[in-house]
Amino acid sequence: MIYAENLRKEFTKIIKDPGLKGSFKALFKPRKEIVVAADNISFHVPKGEILGFIGPNGAGKSTVIKMLTGILTPTKGQCRINGKNPQNDRKKYVRDIGVVFGQRTQLWWDLPLVETYSVLKEIYEVSDENFKERMSFLNEVLDLKEFIRSPVRTLSLGQRMRADIAASMLHSPKVLFLDEPTIGLDVVVKDNIRRAIMKINQEEQTTVILTTHDISDIELLCDRIVMIDKGKNVYDGSLTELKKNYGQMRELTFECDNECSMSAETFKSGLHLSKDDIFIENDKNVFKIRFNSDVIPVGDMLNYTLSAARVKDIAVRDADIEEIIRRLYKEGAKPNE
C-alpha cells in the first residue's frame, strides 16, 4: 500500500552570524549549510494497518509525512502509495488520501464549518447520498452538531481539530495521514478522535499513518511503530517487540520515615548493574528507582532496597512505553540492522 524507499530530504539553511554585522554579511555573502531533515528512510505499510510514526521533536517526522503526501519533493529516493507517485501525479494521488496537520487547518477560516464540507464535497465529487451518510457518521463519532454552523475562526482547538479530522475523512480516503492529531487536546476530545480513527480503520480498512507524542495514542491505536531520530530510521516493528528489545523497565517508589538518600552508585556496585539499567531520583524522603527487570527481578530489587533503608511505603509501576522511548531517545540513533 505504502512504500517509502530511501527517502532523503535536504534543506538549505542560511547561517547568520549574530549581530548587525552578521546580518549584513548574510545579506551579501550568505553562508549556506545543508540540513538533512530525513535520511534514508524506508518502510512499508500494508493495507488496513495503523502505523505509529514516532520520534522526538525535530526528528523529521513531519518532513517524511510531507514527502508522502506530495507536498515536498524528496532530494533522493521515492515513495509509492496506492501505486501512485505523489510527486508526479499529485492531483490524482491526493484524491485517495486524507491529511490532517495538527498545527494547521484545511478549514475555510472565515466561513461556517458546514460550508467547508460542502466545498470538499464538490472538490472530491462525493455524491449527495454518500455525503449525507458520511456526515451523519462523522457527526456521531466526532460530535460536530453543536458547532457546525459557527464560523471556523470561532471554534475552540478541540472543536477545530475534530472538524479537521472529519474533513480529512469526508471522501472515504484509502490512506489517512495524521500528523499530531491529538496535540494540545483534553482527554475527552482525544478519546473522540481515537474512536473515529479506530472506527474508520475497522469499517473501511483505511490505512493510517499517525505521528504523535502521546503514548496512549500509540498503545491504543497502532499495530506497528516506526521510530525515527535525527532523520534516520531507528526502529521498525511492533510495540511488544520494542518493549522486549529495550528491556522491561519498572519503576519502584519508596517512601521512608525520614530523609534518606540512595545513590545509583550503591545499587550499581551492590547489584552489579550497568548504568543504563538503573536510574534513581531522590526527593527528600521519597526516592524512585527505575530499573531493567530483565537484568534484575523485581523481588531482588525489593529485597536489596528494603535491607538498605527503612521503608514506610512502596509503589510499583508497570513498564510503560514512555520509559522505553525515553531510553531510545537518550541513546540516540542506533540504526537497527
Partner: protein, 272 residues
C-alpha cells in the same frame, strides 16, 4: 467543462462569502477608491484650468473625469490579491493545505478571486458606470453609452484581469526565494500604477514612450479597456489591442506555470 465548473464553483462562492464576512474591509476599499477619484479629479481640474483652452493632449476635462473614474473602476475589477495571498501562504507554509487537495493550486486562487471580482462589479462598478453615463449625458446632452463598446470593454476587462492575476501570481512566487514581500510589493504596485496608465493616461506620455508602453503588459491591465470604453479606439485598433491583451494573457499564463513547476520542487515547509 462541467466537472471544472462543479469543482471550482465552490471556491467562487467561498470567495464571495469571505468578502461578505469582511464587509467593512470591502466598504473601506470602495470608499477609499472613491475618495482617491475625487482627489485626482481636483488635481487634474487644476491642470486643465491652467492649460487655458480646456483641452490637454486630446483629452477634454469631460474625458478626464470619465478617465479618472473608469480607470479606478477598471483597477478595482482587475485587482488581484494573488501576490499577497500566495506569498503569505508560501511563507507560512499553509500552501501545503492547497497541495493536498485534488485541484489546481492557481485555479483555486483564481476561482476565489473571481467571486470577489463579481461582487465588486455588482456593488461598485455598475453604480459608478451609471454615474459616469449620467455625467456624460448631462455634459454632452446626448447618450454616449454604446452597447457594443461596453461588451468589448467587458471582454477587455476579462483579459486585463487574467494578466493582472498571472503577473501577481508570478510576483507572489518570489516568496519562494525572499522572506518578506512587503517592500517589493510596494515597488511592484508603484510600477504597475504608473505603467498601466491608472495614475496618468498613457496618452500624456512622450510619443515614443507611449508607443512602447502600449505594447507592454501593464497597459493591457488598465489603459486598454479604459480606452475601449471611452471610444478612443476605432474598431480595427480595438481588435488589435485585444489581440495584444490575449497574447500577454497567454505569455503570463505560461510564465506563471513555468515558475510554479520549478519552484514547487524547491518548496521547503519546515516545522509544523
Amino acid at each position: 467543462m462541467n466537472k471544472i465548473r462543479k469543482q471550482y464553483l465552490p471556491f467562487v462562492r467561498a470567495g464571495v462569502q469571505t468578502l461578505i464576512a469582511y464587509r467593512m474591509n470591502f466598504m473601506g476599499f470602495i470608499i477609499g477608491g472613491l475618495i482617491y477619484c475625487f482627489v485626482m479629479y481636483y488635481l487634474w481640474q487644476a491642470v486643465f484650468l491652467s492649460s487655458g483652452d480646456g483641452s490637454f493632449m486630446g483629452f477634454s476635462m469631460t474625458d478626464m473625469v470619465v478617465y479618472i473614474f473608469l480607470s479606478n473602476v477598471t483597477g478595482q475589477l482587475t485587482f488581484s490579491s494573488a501576490s499577497n495571498d500566495v506569498g503569505e501562504e508560501i511563507r507560512d507554509g499553509s500552501i501545503s493545505m492547497r497541495l493536498i487537495k485534488p485541484v489546481n493550486v492557481d485555479m483555486s486562487y483564481l476561482a476565489a478571486e473571481i467571486g470577489a471580482a463579481l461582487m465588486r462589479f455588482a456593488v461598485f462598478a455598475v453604480p459608478v458606470m451609471m454615474g459616469i453615463e449620467i455625467y456624460r449625458y448631462v455634459v454632452c446632452e446626448t447618450i454616449m453609452f454604446d452597447l457594443v463598446r461596453f461588451l468589448l470593454y467587458l471582454l477587455s476587462i476579462v483579459l486585463a484581469y487574467l494578466i493582472s492575476f498571472r503577473v501577481n501570481l508570478c510576483f507572489g512566487f518570489i516568496a519562494f526565494y525572499v522572506k518578506n514581500l512587503w517592500g517589493i510589493g510596494i515597488l511592484k504596485n508603484s510600477i504597475i500604477n504608473f505603467l498601466s496608465g491608472s495614475l496618468i493616461p498613457l496618452a500624456f506620455m512622450p510619443e515614443q514612450l507611449k508607443i512602447i508602453l502600449e505594447y507592454m503588459p501593464f497597459a493591457s491591465m488598465n489603459y486598454t479597456p479604459v480606452m475601449i470604453y471611452m471610444g478612443k479606439y476605432d474598431i480595427d485598433e480595438i481588435l488589435f489591442r485585444l489581440a495584444i491583451q490575449a497574447i500577454w494573457a497567454l505569455i503570463t499564463y505560461a510564465l506563471s506555470k513555468l515558475i510554479w513547476f520549478r519552484a514547487v520542487k524547491k518548496l521547503s515547509v519546515q516545522g509544523g
